[in-house]
Symmetry: C2
């Protein structure tokens, strides 16, 4: 088990506008609750099956397996619809890597930035386009965005 | 995707009594419904993560991935409790392989035999210890035995 520790922020402006197009991600959930999530994701020519355990603060146990893209395409059909679709931009800043997700589809208009940390209290510098923190707001969990997309808020 | 086609039968007598002890299987479900199942299984020193699609007659889509046993031990803790535990015996008969599951724990007393087929209408010979067919009885699905164990019937 890996432990995923991440913080999530809203984004000011359109810092991705000058970057090469992000990678399209399509993901769905075979199950999703506070206690456990089973996610299928296709990103470019790679696909992953990921299980996440219960969220504890900003940490969550995670088990991830690479699977064939063809399998993932089939598994996405088993997932609750519609899928989550977003373009991911990876933006280095001060020796850290920010992941900026620009959602499309039912979550069009939503943009969030995430940073993965080594520990919960790790200190890091923020680019000037980082807005309010939403790490503790469950609405922004992708598994919740699947059920209650941004367009319905 | 593989397609799993199998038929399931009750067992007469104790045909496993004279065989070497079967392999202990421990399995649990991250989610389980008619539409989809995500199963974690440890058998001996191997472990699998298996996704099954909707049952159609005696057929079901199946995607299966080998995972580290240590991961499976952790994932079983995320599964609904109690786990399914059973000893599996593999018994060749007339060029086919029967899988005989002798359940323990909450399903103690239940014994079923399964045969995996190439097609739904495949003809096969039955050993004389094969009893009534239960392929269409959803109570015997392992995912249902997890929720409504044999001891509660």
């Amino acid at each position: 088990m890996a432990t995923e520790i991440e913080r999530k922020f809203l984004v000011l402006g359109t810092p991705w506008a000058s970057l090469p197009k992000g990678e399209l991600m399509r993901q769905g959930y075979l199950t999703a609750s506070k206690q456990k999530v089973v996610r299928v994701r296709i990103e470019g020519d790679a696909a992953m099956l990921t299980i996440k355990g219960a969220t504890q603060g900003i940490s969550r146990g995670e088990w991830e397996y690479a699977i064939p893209v063809k399998d993932a395409q089939e598994l996405l059909e088993l997932c609750d619809q519609p899928l989550i679709e977003k373009y991911r931009y990876r933006i280095p800043f001060d020796n850290m890597l920010w992941e900026l997700d620009v959602f499309i589809g039912a979550n069009q208009g939503l943009v969030v930035a995430e940073i993965e940390l080594e520990s919960e209290h790790q200190v890091f510098a923020k680019p000037d386009w980082i807005g309010a923190e939403v790490s503790d707001d469950a609405r922004y969990l992708n598994s919740n965005l699947q059920r209650q997309p941004y367009s319905t808020w």
